[in-house]
């Protein structure tokens, strides 16, 4: 497959692994966080970590958009979906995220009209096909997905679609990274930066990591060679005493990002003063809401939503997993009470969640020996 096969070549992979091995100092333990859940998924799908020296540890970051949605937001969605005449639309993974009293899928089983869509554009199409119903789209995701929602809201207005609105739970990547870097219980040596978020925001927003915290960053693609190369870049910076933002994924990530996407996001959204992240708590200026200029398309203003904060289940340790403090299999309910079929925590729901990646690729319990 063009643009894909080249980045899965086993020989090149082994060569990169050899270079990585030659760079690490025996006796030093390296902790590199892959920020994005897509990277976590690829690492375990392709066994990238098996090619690494035992003293290079990959720590899984908070970049799975489903995993960071708090239970209260799910409850808001379910309450909205139960409104008379509403067709509630959302992405597939979101339907399985547990709220305080079941998931959207449970609500669907209870009679709510909840439909899975692949894009906000699909949700708008449903609205146009059902002019007598109110169609609500539950928007989640980082900066990769937010432009898609913004363009759809602009299109809804331009086409005069009156029965479409959106619950905006979009989040931004930089504030949680800063929160993690400020966290006293986490020591990291470097970061693999998120590839497709950077397609939108560019490399510039990550420059605070080397500038303020002295840690190297390599923005990476999602194929196994992309990830190995990014790990090599981070380790090389550490070996040479450098720290900067390097871009391994130049084939789609321009330094300045996608300016049209940033413009449309600035027009349609504004920052929330605070947004709650599952396991990480409230983080300032980390969530997006629909701006006043597009108020009529904001489902939170069109309908009443409970907006109640709900504590995570006590047994669930998604917070520690999202912060990289524990490995998924160290959670008490991992693989027993909490499985992808019956998740307790969000990290087990999405295929990009660290727990689901470990579970689906057979990493039930394993401590790698440290050199």
């Amino acid at each position: 497959m063009k643009y894909v096969d080249e980045f899965r070549d086993a020989e090149l992979g082994r060569a990169l692994a050899g270079e990585i091995l030659s760079l690490v100092e025996p006796g030093r333990h390296y902790k590199v966080m892959e920020v994005c859940g897509g990277h976590t998924h690829s690492i375990y799908k392709y066994g990238v970590d098996d090619l690494l020296p035992a003293n290079v540890e990959l720590v899984h970051g908070p970049g799975c958009p489903v995993c960071v949605i708090p239970m209260g937001r799910v409850d808001d969605g379910i309450a909205l979906a139960h409104n008379e005449g509403v067709i509630f639309t959302c992405f597939g993974d979101m339907m399985r995220v547990p709220g305080s009293n079941g998931s959207l899928l449970d609500a669907k089983a209870d009679g709510a009209d909840i439909r899975m869509v692949y894009s906000p554009l699909d949700a708008l199409r449903i609205a146009k096909q059902n002019p007598e119903r109110e169609v609500v789209f539950f928007a989640i995701g980082f900066e990769t997905t937010a432009p898609s929602t913004a363009l759809t809201l602009k299109r809804a207005r331009a086409e005069g679609v009156q029965n479409f609105s959106c619950v905006c739970s979009h989040v931004t990547i930089v504030p949680p990274l800063r929160a993690l870097l400020e966290s006293p219980d986490l020591r990291l040596d470097g970061f693999i930066g998120p590839g497709h978020v950077s397609t939108i925001v560019g490399a510039r927003p990550f420059e605070f990591i080397p500038a303020d915290y002295g840690k190297p960053v390599a923005i990476a693609g999602f194929e196994p060679l992309d990830i190995l190369q990014a790990i090599l870049m981070v380790l090389r910076q550490l070996a040479e005493g450098r720290c900067e933002v390097e871009n391994q994924y130049k084939r789609v990530v321009p330094y300045e990002g996608n300016l049209r996407a940033l413009e449309v996001m600035a027009e349609v959204f504004e920052l929330r003063p605070h947004f709650e992240w599952r396991g990480l708590g409230f983080i300032s200026h980390s969530g997006l809401k629909i701006s006043d200029a597009y108020a009529e398309l904001d489902a939170e203003r069109r309908f009443s939503v409970p907006g109640v904060r709900v504590a995570d289940p006590k047994a669930c340790q998604c917070g520690e997993v999202l912060k990289g403090v524990i490995k998924p299999w160290e959670c008490k309910v991992f693989g027993t009470a909490c499985t992808p079929e019956r998740p307790i925590g969000t990290c087990m729901v999405s295929s990009e969640g660290a727990c689901a990646a470990y579970y689906n690729y057979g990493r039930f319990a394993r401590e790698r020996e440290v050199v």
């Binding site: 497959m1 063009k2 643009y3 894909v4 080249e6 070549d9 994005c36 859940g37 897509g38 799908k45 970049g63 799975c64 958009p65 489903v66 992405f91 597939g92 993974d93 979101m94 399985r96 079941g102 998931s103 899928l105 449970d106 089983a109 899975m116 692949y118 894009s119 906000p120 554009l121 699909d122 989640i140 995701g141 990769t144 997905t145 432009p147 898609s148 363009l151 759809t152 299109r155 998120p194 590839g195 497709h196 978020v197 397609t199 939108i200 999602f222 060679l225 992309d226 190369q229 084939r251 789609v252 990530v253 996608n258 049209r260 449309v264 992808p340 019956r342 999405s350 295929s351 990009e352």
Partner: protein, 81 residues
């Protein structure tokens, strides 16, 4: 959790294309410039309508990276080092 939840669609081998940080390489087949949309095909031949506002202008044969129904970048050929 109910039986309905237990039988929910699960993303298998591939990422969940809907909500992750995922991007699909697609090729433009036909362009509706007036509406800012393009009919695109993925590697398996499946066709879908894609929003092209972020990467315009596009033409048939262009390769795009598509996320949640929106083209977020043009694909530029690059070999791994």
């Amino acid at each position: 959790m109910s039986e309905a939840a237990a039988s929910a669609p699960v993303c298998g081998d591939q990422h969940c294309i809907t909500c992750g940080d995922d991007g699909d390489p697609m090729t433009v087949v036909r362009v509706d410039a007036e509406r800012g949309l393009a009919l695109c095909t993925d590697e398996s031949g499946a066709r879908s309508t894609v929003e092209t506002a972020l990467v315009e202008p596009v033409g048939p044969g262009d390769r795009l990276l598509v996320h949640a129904g929106t083209a977020i970048a043009r694909l530029v050929k690059e070999e791994p080092e």
